[in-house]
């Protein structure tokens, strides 16, 4: 989690946040593949960006996606209290990817996300699903708390939209952009020094990564059951969300990214990079 804050010291990372945000908003607003509910929800190609950006720009993508969504709200006329959920949800939409990549043990390819192998694509799709779910549950949770739209209506819609865009567009986008971004030296491990990145041992990283993966999906599942009244008892969507969100924060804090080590092993990043 450290890099989420230390990155604000670096000029390039700060501008990456701004550029990611502006590009995300500029694609999000005008382009939609098709509309599910007119005026409300559509599959937008831009929803692939947070995951793809997250793998390459790490924390800058998390902040950038959050700000980008806010800008889309401001320009699209949907700015309001609900934008808070959009901000946090999109932050984690971009955040989950770089925390999970390389940290999923046997499910990880152990390679850079350049989509040159099937194992990478599998790892990517898992991450896209987890990221989409995370974004969906957070936004739907906040919307439910605010009494805007019930969780069980909004969460599946966002989940489907995000997953479709991220899973279908992500692999070709990474295939074509990752090598180029690496070539110009803008992958986050190339911009941040070791002491700016969070570090953790393998077991902690695995626990955190699987924790985020599992929480996102379980939160979605339990939230749907509770929200539709299928789960009996005193549980509410709000309470499920609270537990889920606390767990997400906890796993976010104990986890660490892995791409820097993958790059070091490939000789693309000097070991022990510092300022």
């Amino acid at each position: 989690m450290r890099e989420v804050f230390t990155m604000w010291r670096d000029t390039r990372m700060i501008l990456l946040v701004a550029v990611v945000a502006a590009v995300y908003a500029a694609i999000l607003l005008p382009f939609k593949v098709f509309t599910i509910l007119p005026g409300l929800t559509s599959v937008r190609p831009a929803n692939a960006f947070p995951v793809v950006f997250g793998l390459m720009f790490g924390p800058a993508a998390a902040w950038g996606s959050a700000i980008g969504n806010l800008i889309a709200d401001i320009f699209g006329g949907t700015f309001g209290p609900g934008s808070l959920g959009g901000f946090v949800g999109n932050f984690f939409f971009g955040f989950v990817g770089y925390k999970l990549w390389g940290n999923l043990g046997p499910l990880s390819s152990g390679e850079e996300p350049n989509m040159r192998s099937i194992r990478q694509v599998v790892e990517y799709v898992l991450i896209a699903v987890a990221s989409s779910a995370m974004c969906a549950v957070i936004i739907a949770w906040v919307a439910d708390l605010l009494g805007l739209v019930p969780f069980s209506v909004l969460a599946p819609i966002i989940m489907v939209n995000n997953t479709l865009a991220a899973a279908v567009l992500g692999p070709p986008l990474l295939y074509l952009t990752y090598p180029r971004i690496k070539d110009i030296g803008f992958l986050y491990p190339e911009l941040l020094a070791d002491e700016e990145l969070s570090a953790a041992g393998a077991s902690r990283r695995y626990v955190a990564a699987y924790g985020l993966l599992v929480v996102s999906l379980v939160w979605l599942g339990v939230g749907l059951l509770v929200g539709t009244g299928a789960a009996p008892g005193t549980l509410t969507v709000g309470l499920v969300g609270l537990v889920g969100f606390v767990l997400v924060l906890a796993f976010a804090i104990i986890g660490a990214e892995r791409l820097s080590a993958i790059l070091e092993r490939a000789g693309a990043r000097p070991a022990g990079r510092n300022r």
């Binding site: 000029t11 295939y175 090598p179 180029r180």
Partner: protein, 689 residues
């Protein structure tokens, strides 16, 4: 260093420390060696003699071998110095050492000493150097960060912790100096024109009250009007405007306000701008090759050629006439004056080769000699190179075309009642300032825009009734910036994208792609990633991608923007060849007057969306007053020829190229006759990619 130099140079002010008073040096570089590769083993400066190896690409970020190879340079205080050199020669890299961007921001591998305004720049942070050095870069889009004009100007001073009360004054002063004082203070930088944006950048940098102003190709991305506006401001800042006109290289006059920077250094590849300075430095292979007063350097044809810098066209012309090397003219007035003082006679080109106006065959000889700007006109080499031969049937017929954009401030009529006929085999230039509607009009030709009023017909069929797939196959459109379309992994796949979309596959597709790649001569690049190529190469890939769809017409939107002089010439020659050999109909949207002078026999001028002129390019240039009214400027060669024609009161047409000017004055060697038959190419040779 308060930027408070007195009106009288001899009377140095007291609060400067002693060294700078004694030396009067703005910057001094010693044995500076730099490579973008942070892991490069740098050889000692003296071992870096031969040619720079970084020639794979013109990208300054090229990471192969040292770019600066032992630079020894002193920039005097109080002067305006211009730095020129071939692409990849290290110009921009050199400038970046002045404010510690190198080596503080771009680490790379660095060696040497840099002293700027008494500070050790090699050991300073960029933000520290920002207190004394202001820097303006080429691309204004990457230099504006804020959402209102005053906030943008205030930004630098805020970073330097200038008290807010004082920032108000700086905003007023600098916006006034760059001529933006009338701008609505709430307006957003994003909504300004290119010229306004770059002037805003300049104001924002000047508001930091730097002592040294550094400009890296500040006008490259601007149209003629924007360039003109910025050049005027730079003249005011340097306050040294007369120096080049009367040929003396002098100290700053008293025109600039006292808070303006004392010294300026500029990199440019535009000769016209270079002549604004009082000192010139030529770089070659990462070292200083020649330096001296502007006049001395820019009339030194050998040095210019050796360092692969464009020779000013009038210098080239007069050198070819055999004029003494120490007396070559830089500007049109000087050139005309020299002719009057000599025995040379001016014979303007006669009208005989304007065939495109009639349907028939206008000239007997149509075979090109192959050289640029030469069509083999009956009495000597001519221009333009585009075409001049028989024209076929009508391709486009536009009647009363109008188009409106919706903006925050209401609709804007971008194109208004334009009638236009374009025929097969023509090369037509569409010119006009920013916002004149030229690009909007051009986009009607392939259906990217549909007119709100009037009609566009392609081979007699209304474009509005055709699908993109139908019209796209016949009419290709090459966008201004190739980077707006390149995406594929290799050049081959990139070129194949269009024909694939249009349904080609297998053997046909392969053949089409191969032919397109051969035509633009990028055979050796087929497996490369387009993003790693130079700008000139990327432009070719984009063209190949359009050629592969086998269009009969291609619309080029600003084909020369962002290319250096040599790349421009190569690309335009290629277009001219396609027009000549493949009978491709060419429509060129451009703001570059040299381009239409040399390549487009027919020009359409747009002004505020309306057609202001449609006819022979030569006739357009014959009337400088009219050009002025359109906000256009004739190239120096044309201006000189017009001046000579006016004075001789001869009926005649303007010369459009160096060749025509030389021919009109009696041909190579006409002045001395004893000089070598050495041919100096005009303003755009040799800067090889």
């Amino acid at each position: 260093m308060g930027g408070n130099q007195g009106m009288d140079e001899s009377e140095s002010d007291g609060d400067d420390d002693e060294t700078s008073v004694a030396e009067a040096v703005a910057a001094r570089l010693r044995e500076v060696v730099f490579s973008y590769d942070p892991y490069d083993e740098l050889p000692a400066a003296e071992d870096l003699d031969g040619e720079a190896t970084a020639s794979r690409s013109t990208d300054p970020d090229e990471r192969g071998g040292p770019v600066l190879r032992g630079v020894e340079l002193t920039i005097p205080e109080g002067g305006f110095t211009v730095v020129m050199g071939a692409s990849g020669g290290g110009k921009s890299t050199l400038l970046r050492t002045f404010n510690a961007v190198i080596p503080d921001f771009i680490r790379g591998s660095f060696d040497g000493e840099i002293e700027v305004l008494g500070r050790d720049a090699a050991a300073s942070r960029v933000s520290e150097m920002a207190e004394v050095v202001g820097m303006v870069f080429q691309d204004y889009e990457t230099q504006l960060f804020r959402t209102s004009v005053p906030a943008e100007v205030a930004f630098g001073p805020e970073n330097l912790a200038v008290p807010p009360a004082e920032i108000d004054e700086r905003i007023d002063r600098t916006l006034g100096l760059v001529g933006l004082e009338d701008l609505d203070r709430a307006s957003e930088p994003a909504g300004l024109s290119g010229g306004q944006k770059q002037r805003l950048v300049l104001a924002s940098v000047l508001a930091m009250y730097p002592d040294l102003l550094v400009l890296d190709e500040p006008t490259s991305d601007l149209d003629p009007r924007g360039t003109h506006e910025l050049v005027d401001v730079m003249r005011a800042v340097a306050a040294d405007g007369e120096a080049t006109n009367d040929g003396t290289s002098g100290k700053r006059a008293s025109g600039a306000p006292e808070w303006a920077p004392d010294s300026a250094v500029m990199v440019t590849h535009k000769v016209e701008e270079a002549l604004l300075a009082d000192r010139a430095v030529l770089l070659r292979d990462g070292r200083v090759f020649r330096e001296g007063p502007v006049r001395a350097v820019f009339t030194d044809v050998d040095s210019l050629e050796d360092s692969r810098v464009a020779v000013p066209p009038l210098v080239a012309a007069f050198d070819r006439l055999g004029w003494p090397a120490d007396d070559l003219p830089l500007l049109p007035a000087e050139a005309a004056h020299r002719v009057h003082e000599s025995a040379l006679e001016w014979t303007p080109p006669a009208r005989r080769n304007e065939a495109f106006r009639d349907s028939g065959n206008g000239t007997g000889t149509t075979e090109s000699t192959g050289a640029t700007g030469e069509l083999g006109e009956p009495d000597g080499p001519g221009a333009p190179a585009g075409t001049g031969r028989e024209l076929g049937e009508t391709v486009f017929e536009l009647e009363g075309v109008g188009f409106e954009y919706q903006t925050d401030r209401g609709p804007i009529r971008a194109v208004d009642g334009v009638d236009l006929t374009i025929r097969e085999g023509e090369t037509v230039g569409i010119v006009g300032g920013n916002g004149s509607g030229k690009t909007t009009l051009a986009k009607h030709l392939n259906g990217l825009h549909e007119p709100d009023a009037g009609s566009v017909a392609w081979h007699g069929r209304p474009v509005s009734g055709l699908s993109m797939a139908e019209i796209g196959r016949g009419v290709g459109y090459v966008f201004q910036n190739p980077d707006h379309q390149l995406f594929a992994e290799t050049v081959r796949e990139e070129v194949a994208f269009g024909p694939e979309n249009f349904g080609l596959s297998g053997e046909d597709l392969d053949r089409r792609v191969r032919e397109a790649i051969e035509t633009v001569e990028i055979d050796d690049l087929v497996d490369r990633d387009p993003f790693t190529l130079s700008k000139g190469q990327r432009q070719r890939v984009a063209l190949a991608g359009v050629l592969a769809t086998d269009p009969e017409t291609i619309v080029f939107d600003e084909p020369t923007t962002g290319l250096d002089a040599a790349q421009q010439e190569q690309f335009l020659d290629l277009i001219a060849r396609l027009n000549r050999d493949e009978r491709l109909t060419v429509v060129m949207v451009t703001h570059d007057m040299e381009t239409i002078a040399r390549y487009a026999p027919r020009t359409v001028v747009l002004e505020n969306g309306r057609k202001a002129y449609d006819g022979p390019t030569r006739d357009l240039f014959a009337d400088p007053g009219r050009l002025d009214a359109y906000g256009l400027r004739a190239p120096h060669v044309v201006e000189t020829a017009n001046e000579l024609t006016d004075d001789s009161e001869d009926e005649g047409l303007p010369a459009l190229s160096v060749e025509e000017l030389v021919t009109g004055l009696g041909g190579p060697g006409a002045y001395g006759g004893d000089r070598d038959e050495r041919s100096v190419e005009p303003a755009s040779k040799g800067e090889d990619a």
